[in-house]
Structure formats: C-alpha cells, structure tokens
C-alpha cells in the first residue's frame, strides 16, 4: 500500500495547437489582445513557470495554499495547458523572491485568476512547439503534445519539452497569441485530482509554518497589552533577562516580546515579563448589548448599492398583477448589474400585459431587522511567523494571504528599503480571511531585529489569536417591502450598517500591522474600509436580491471609526445580507400564504439561479414530510458577489430541546469545474462553518476587552453537532470558472433560520440562532 496519489496520465494527443494556430507564434499584429490582470502585472512567461530537463515542470503561483486546495487546482490547469501528466508539475509556494505578484489570495478569486497561468502555459507550449518544428523541419501546426513529447502526426519526428528545456528561453513577454486549449481538449481539469498536500498532513510530516526548521532558530513570544487601549506605564525587564535561555527582551513603545533558545523558555519568559508590566487600561469598546444602536448611531459613509427610485411606502409600479395568483417569470434574466428596470425589464414578469400607467396599490407593507455579532476566524492553529535579519537583508516566513503586499507593508513599518525584504509563503492552518498571519510575521520582524543573524520563530497564544486577530464585523440590516395583493414583490428597501470589512496590509496607506501600531513611532491602524462595489463591496456585498423586484433602494452604511478591529472574514457582509434577504423572503411568502420555494421561483428569472434552487429543493424532498414535531426544512439561495457561484441550500432542522441541523442539501454552480471533489469539499466546509457561525458563534466583550478568549468562551461546532451535507455540483463547461470557498455561507445561514422558523413557528432575526433566542422569541 502506498500513499502516493496515482493520477491517471491524461491523453494529450490532441492537436497541439488548439483551436487557433498557436504552434506558430505569429508576430504581434497590433490587434488588441485582452490580457488577464495577472498577465498585465507579471508579463513574462518565466515569471509563471520553468520546464526542466529532468522531466519536471515548476509552476510559480502568486496564490497561497490556505487549506482550500489551490495548489492542486493550479497544477491541474498547468498540466492540461502544457500537455503533461500532472505528477510532473510541482506548484511552488508563493514567494516575493520569484514568481508573479497576484496580490491577495482572497474573495474566491484564485480559480478565476488562473486564466493568467493558463495563458502563460499556452505561451510556453507554443514556444516549445515552434522550436521543435524548426529543429525537426515540420510544420508546427502539424505537431501534437503528449505528456511532454512533441511529435508530428505520424510520430516519425519527435522531441520533448525536456530535450528542448535548455534551449527554449521563457524569459519573454506573454503576447496572448497562443490560444489556450479548448475545454474539450482538457484531460486533467474537470477531474477530482487528489490533494497534493494531504499525504504530508496525514502522516505528521513537517509542512506547516509552525514546523519550520531554520538553522539557529530562536523562539519568540509577544506580550500583548491586556486590552486594545492599554498603555504601558512601566516594565522591569531585568529579572526576565536573567532567566535561563533568554536571549533578548524587546521593548519598542508598547510592543513587548521575548526571545529565547527554546519554546518552553520563551513561554516562561513571556509569563514573567507580563508580570513585570504595569499597564493603564481604559474603556474603548462599545457596549455589546447595544451594538445595534451603536452601529446605527455611528457616523458613516453611505454607499447607494442600488436605487431604482423608490422609497418604502405605497409603491408605484406597473402591472398590478391582479388575477395572477402565481406569477411566472418568463423574461430574460433580470441581470445582476444595472437595474432590473421599470421600463422594459420586468414588465412581463407578472404574466400580464404590463400596461403602462397603472398605479398599483401595495396591499401590504412589511419590514424587519436582522443582526449578527462579531465573528472570529478561530483557526485551529494560532498565527505564526518567522524572520531573519542578516547581511542579505530581511527574510520573512508567513502564512499571509498576500506575500507581496505584506512585503511592502513590512518595509514601510520597519523603515527599510523594500528591495531588501523577502517574504516566503509557508502553509498555516485554514485561513478564512485576514487573520493574524501578517501581524505575527511583523512580530517576528521586530523580535528578530534584536538578534541579527538568527531567525526568530513566533507563535501566538490561543487567547491572542481569539482577541487580537481582526474580527468579522457585527452588522444590522433593516429591510422593508411592498407587496401586491397577490403577494408579488413591488418594492424593496434595504439599509445595512457595519464596520469596515477590510484592513489588510497596505490599506489606506498604512502598513496595517498590529505591532506597528504599538511601537514607539507608531503606524496606527486606520479605520477599516470596504472594498469598492466593483470589487464585490464589503458591507454591501450581496445586498441586492437576485429576485425580480421593480423598485429597489439599497444602501450600505460603513462606520467611519472602528472601536473593535475588523477586517475580511469569509464572505464579508454577504453572510448577514443573504441571511436578511432570504429570511425576509420567507417571511413575505408566509404572509402571502405562498410556499417558500414557489415564491422564490416566481421571482427568479436567471436560469442558472432557478436550476440550483430547483435542484436543491428536489434533492431535499421539498417541502418535506411534517411527520415529526419540531422538524422542518428551510431554503436559502444567493449568487455570491452577484457574479460568482450560484448556491442553494436546504436545511433540515430539529428544534425540540436544542437546535440541531440534521442535514444540508446543496446545489452549486461554479461554472466550469476544475476539480469536482475540490468544489464539493469547499462547499461542504463552507456550509459546516456557516452552521457553526449561525448556531453558536459570537465574540463577547466588555467595555475594556474582548472576553471570549478560549474554546470554552468561543465555542465552535463539534463533531456530534455537524450535519450531514449532500452537495450536487453542476458543471457548466462553457461558463467561466468562479470560486467556491464563499458560496455556501449566506444561503446556509438563511436555510437554517428559515427551517427554525418553520419548525417552531417563531422567527429569530438575530444571529447566532440559539435555543435561548428561540425561547425568547416564543415568549414574545
């Protein structure tokens, strides 16, 4: 028995040139070629890959393995595009020393961004084919590639990538003139290739940054302030410096840390140093029990996400829909940008003639408010980093989501030339957004500065991980709608308040590194911002329902100050926004006496949206058999970021003594599927993590500090609480691939909320949905 995954060697003996004459490498014609952004930023083939004489290919990715399996997927893409067996391809970890700068690994963009790698590989293939054709005296168009062997059609003339590796120079610009292979010619993409990193992780081999083996390594620990606003009054480092094995005690302003020969030594020294400090603490956190009012009352920046010109209240629209009990949606997709339109886009949706000029009267107006608390990343591994200052400059090892932005932020904070800084990515535990990885890297930088020539390896404590990593923001959303007499949606108003959802290294001109805010010459952390709407937004992410609604007025209000440090956590604002939209749709459907599934389909025109909703419902046996008291189904749906994956979730919930999610039935459409099992794994994981958020999670704090600092005060879902998860992945080979890591969270929360409401007959609008809150809602 061997653990090596044995991927089938694909047959790449398809025509080597794809659908266009890529074997010949024509000179630039002057025609504008649309290049992916990764290519624009990293224009040379050699920035993306190297082909070696020993029969191997190295792919340099700017994307980080975060536990999502991206190294495996990128290897599949490269293998297909080059025409080699996947086992020959090694995708190397991102580093600023070489390879492309692809910014952050975030926003479910890595697979979509892989078009750049695909193009680089296609270019390399074309260059090798051209060289082979010239040497063999055959037409490049007549050549094929099979596992790196380049030959003419009858196989009499042949050579290989490996034979030609030394004489084909890939240090040349990607011109975008070699066509990537057509989808039908891809043998590896679309298969469930085994994860390349799992064998190491299953046998305890050193693979994580925590396992890093560096010559002369020292152990570092940081002594953080006891609370966010605390200032150091005095510290006596002398007794700590005298402890055995302590190499250095570092103080820079309010930043304190120790460096020791061993982990145990560093831990003991950190405890001693903490006892040697006197801090002045002050209350700087908002009152947890009134976060709703705090957010509403904050000074905010308001973004109009969508405005079709209506305010809540008696709505003006066309087509009263009278007589149409179940309007069917038959028009073209409503579109996810621009307006659904009151001029021509939705006129036919009610099945009537949509006569202009009618002034329908809203039969019903409804409104509700939905909230969530702060969420922690709560990765199983505490953040970790390592750094070395020596004659070559500064070398840093980090599980950051973006080694290039981190490099620039470190150079800025440390006041050194960016050219002297190198950052290598090393895998950490699962990353679900902007966690403490970058901060831990800078901790190591500050501590290592005290011991030039020796690398310092810093590991955070569990308490620091849960209290100092950026959090996902608390949010509150008001939603109101007007309905026609038949229940059809006429207008929709939505206001959502939140702290910002991004504070990544380099944002707002600041390093954005925790320790840099504590040093003698500080770089304070600016208030968290939101990504632009064009980039998916933050507070307003997924705030626009995909349902056909004639008039929508949707605004996102981002607070201008951040009393609790917030940043990107998986899905950003979409988790609450989808929960609010999909809960409210259920409330409306119930008020209108309509089935929740039928009501959704009546307002959905996008065929891909309809298909995931329909498939999930059918797979779950919607509407279910009401055979057991306190057991019910609920549904939730969204298209992530309005242009990403479509995902529908049906939850089966049992709400008798406690709230248990028994089963999640999910249908997802991510366009062309690179790795079906990889997609299923991401969807399952996202759904289970969202179940945990939705049933259990809320960061606790008093006015001075965050108090949920261990696994007892911040519990997450356990094995016995994890639902069955059934995932159906719809492959659409002709649609662009989009990410899967953030598709399921919002719909899962909504499905659970809707199932709970169906099971117990009362609605909980505040996340997490705990048994306490269900009881309180019943008492109301």
């Amino acid at each position: 028995m061997s653990m090596s995954a044995r991927p089938a060697v694909p047959d790449h003996s398809t025509h080597g040139t794809g659908s266009a004459p890529a074997g010949r490498h024509p000179e630039p014609s002057g025609a504008a070629v649309s290049l992916p952004r990764g290519v624009t930023a990293n224009p040379r083939v050699s920035q993306w890959l190297a082909i070696h004489g020993d029969g191997t290919v190295h792919v340099f990715s700017g994307k980080a393995e975060l536990g999502q399996g991206i190294l495996t997927a990128l290897g599949q893409i490269a293998a297909d595009e080059l025409g080699v067996a996947p086992h020959r391809v090694l995708v190397l970890a991102a580093t600023t020393a070489s390879g492309p700068d692809q910014g952050f690994t975030a926003g479910s963009m890595s697979v979509a961004d892989s078009e750049a790698l695909r193009m680089a590989c296609a270019e390399a293939r074309a260059l090798f084919l051209r060289e082979a054709a010239a040497r063999l005296g055959v037409d490049a168009d007549e050549m094929v590639v099979a596992d790196g062997v380049l030959r003419d059609r009858d196989g009499t003339c042949k050579t290989s990538y490996w034979d030609l590796a030394a004489c084909v120079d890939l240090d040349r610009e990607i011109l975008g003139l070699a066509s990537p292979r057509p989808v039908a010619g891809r043998a590896v993409v679309g298969t469930s290739a085994a994860r390349v990193d799992l064998p190491d992780k299953l046998t305890g081999r050193p693979r994580f940054i925590h396992d890093l083996s560096l010559p002369g390594r020292l152990a570092g620990r940081v002594v953080r302030p006891p609370s966010p606003a605390a200032r150091l009054l005095e510290v006596d480092p002398a007794p700590v410096e005298r402890l055995p094995g302590v190499v250095a005690v570092v103080r820079d302003g309010d930043f304190l840390g120790v460096v020791a020969e061993t982990e145990t030594g560093a831990e003991s020294a950190a405890v001693a140093l903490r006892q040697a400090c006197r801090w002045r603490e002050e209350e700087s956190l908002p009152p947890e029990e009134s976060m709703q009012a705090v957010l509403r009352g904050a000074e905010t920046e308001t973004t109009v996400v969508r405005d079709d010109g209506a305010e809540p209240g008696p709505a003006a629209t066309r087509g009263s829909g009278a007589g149409s009990a179940a309007p069917t949606a038959t028009t073209a997709p409503a579109g996810t940008t621009g307006t659904a339109g009151t001029t021509d886009g939705t006129d036919g949706t009610d099945g009537t003639d949509g006569t202009d000029g009618e002034t329908p009267v809203a039969a019903t107006s409804m409104s509700a408010t939905y909230t969530r608390g702060f969420l922690a990343h709560a990765s199983i591994a505490p953040s970790c980093g390592a750094a070395l200052w020596d004659e070559d400059g500064l070398t840093v090892w980090s599980h950051s989501q973006g080694v290039h932005p981190l490099r620039r932020a470190i150079a800025q904070a440390a006041g050194v030339d960016v050219a002297t800084v190198t950052v290598h990515h090393v895998e950490g535990a699962g990353a679900y957004g902007h966690n403490g990885a970058d901060d831990a890297a800078y901790d190591a930088v500050l501590l290592a500065r005290a011991v030039p020539g020796r690398p310092v390896h810093v590991v955070w404590s569990r308490a620091d991980e849960l209290t100092w990593s950026p959090l996902g923001s608390a949010m509150v959303a008001d939603v109101a709608a007007d309905l026609a007499p038949d229940g059809r949606l006429l207008s929709w108003s939505y206001d959502v308040w939140s702290y910002g959802h991004t504070a990544r290294p380099g944002y707002a001109g600041s390093p954005g590194l925790l320790a840099a805010a504590h040093t003698e010459r500080p770089h304070p952390l600016p208030p968290s911002a939101d990504p632009a709407l064009a980039g998916g937004g933050g507070t307003g992410r997924n705030a626009v329902p995909l349902y056909v609604i004639p008039r929508r007025s949707i605004r996102a209000h981002r607070a201008l100050t951040t009393p609790i440090r917030t940043s990107a956590l998986r899905t950003l604002g979409a988790y609450l926004n989808v929960f609010a939209i999909e809960s409210f749709i259920d409330e409306i459907a119930a008020a209108a006496g309509r089935d929740a599934l039928e009501y959704r389909l009546a307002h959905l025109t996008d065929p891909r949206a309809r298909e995931v909703v329909d498939r999930a419902a059918r797979a779950a046996g919607w509407p279910g058999q009401p055979t057991e008291d306190g057991v019910a189904l609920g549904i939730g749906f969204a298209r992530y970021k309005d242009r990403g994956a479509y995902c529908a979730v049906v939850a089966e919930v049992e709400a008798v003594h406690d709230i248990r999610v028994r089963r999640l039935t999910i249908a997802v459409d991510v366009g062309r599927v690179v790795n079906p099992d990889g997609v299923a794994n991401q969807i399952e994981g996202g759904a289970v993590q969202s179940t945990s958020w939705t049933l259990k999670e809320q960061v606790r704090f008093d006015r001075t500090q965050i108090t949920s600092d261990d696994w007892e005060s911040y519990p997450i879902l356990r094995f016995t609480e994890v639902p069955e998860v059934v995932v159906e992945v719809i492959d659409r080979p002709d649609e662009p691939s989009v990410g899967s890591g953030e598709a399921a969270q919002g719909p899962t929360a909504a499905a659970i909320g809707n199932a709970v409401a169906a099971a117990v007959g009362v609605r909980v609008r505040d996340l997490p949905i705990t048994a306490e809150r269900v009881v309180a809602a019943m008492d109301d």
Binding site: F208, R462, V722
Partner: protein, 149 residues
C-alpha cells in the same frame, strides 16, 4: 518513555510539556500546538493507549509510559489504514487538526473495531476542525473500519 516503539531518554525539565519535548527535542512535528489547554485536540497522542493532550501533559507524567504520535501510526510508504482511508476520502482541508483526529480515531478502532457513525462522532468530539471537513472524516473512519476489520 517509549515513543513510537522506541525507548527514548530526554534531558528536559520535568515540567516541560510533552508536546514541546516531542516537537523540539525529538523532532516529531505531527502533534500540533492549538490552544495549550487541552481543548482542541490538535496535540493528541496516545499515552498508554489513551488519547491525551500533550500540550498540558508535563513530561514527568509521561515518564516510563508508551507514547504514540501520528508518525507512529504509519508513514507515506506504509500508512495506517486510517491514514489511507482519509486519503481515499480526501478527508481534510487545511489538515492542521488531522494528527489529533487520527489519534482519536485509532484509539476508537482499537476498542471498538466496528463503530457506527454516532460512535465515531462521539469519539472525535474532543477534536475541533474549523474547515468543516468533519463528515468526510467520519466517512473515512467508517471506511477504515470496514476495509480493515
């Protein structure tokens, strides 16, 4: 103590955590630091056959005992049936929790070679997984039990 079948002597302070001794002194990186309080399961090892958090077990408590880490279950060339089943089921995402989960599962299969899903979940309830790969892991344990009765 005996570590993965080999007698080892360690010259460390008796209060040093077993986790640090395994990782730093003996170079076994399989057991992982997660919380330092025995609450997450990432550092579990078998101590005389019982899954035990090595992060809050002092070295003296392991003296003379039999310690098995995930490395002791099997390796790339000769994996334990559980390791193979986890690979076959692609049961993991980031993988940081896997060492401890394999230790809990191995202890379960020793005392109960044919568990049902409920028993597997209960046996793994001390282990946290943040990526949400628990169902795959339960399937993998069931598979290992079935294929290697």
């Amino acid at each position: 103590m005996t570590v993965n079948g080999v007698k080892r002597s360690v010259g460390a302070d008796a209060e040093t955590s077993l986790l640090h001794v395994l990782r730093e002194d003996l170079g076994l990186k399989g057991p992982r630091f997660g919380c330092g309080a025995g609450l997450c399961g990432a550092c579990l090892v078998l101590l005389d056959g019982y899954p035990t958090p090595s992060c809050d077990t002092p070295l003296w408590a392991a003296e003379g005992k039999d310690v098995v880490t995930v490395e002791g279950l099997g390796d790339l060339d000769s994996p334990h049936p559980l390791q193979q089943a986890f690979l076959d089921e692609q049961a993991g995402q980031c993988g940081y929790c896997l060492s401890g989960i394999l230790i809990s599962a191995a202890a379960l299969l020793t005392r109960n070679p044919a568990p049902d899903e409920r028993e597997v979940a209960e046996a793994l309830d001390r282990n946290l997984c943040r990526c949400g790969a628990q169902r795959r892991m339960i399937r993998a344990v069931m598979r290992a039990a079935k294929e290697h009765p």
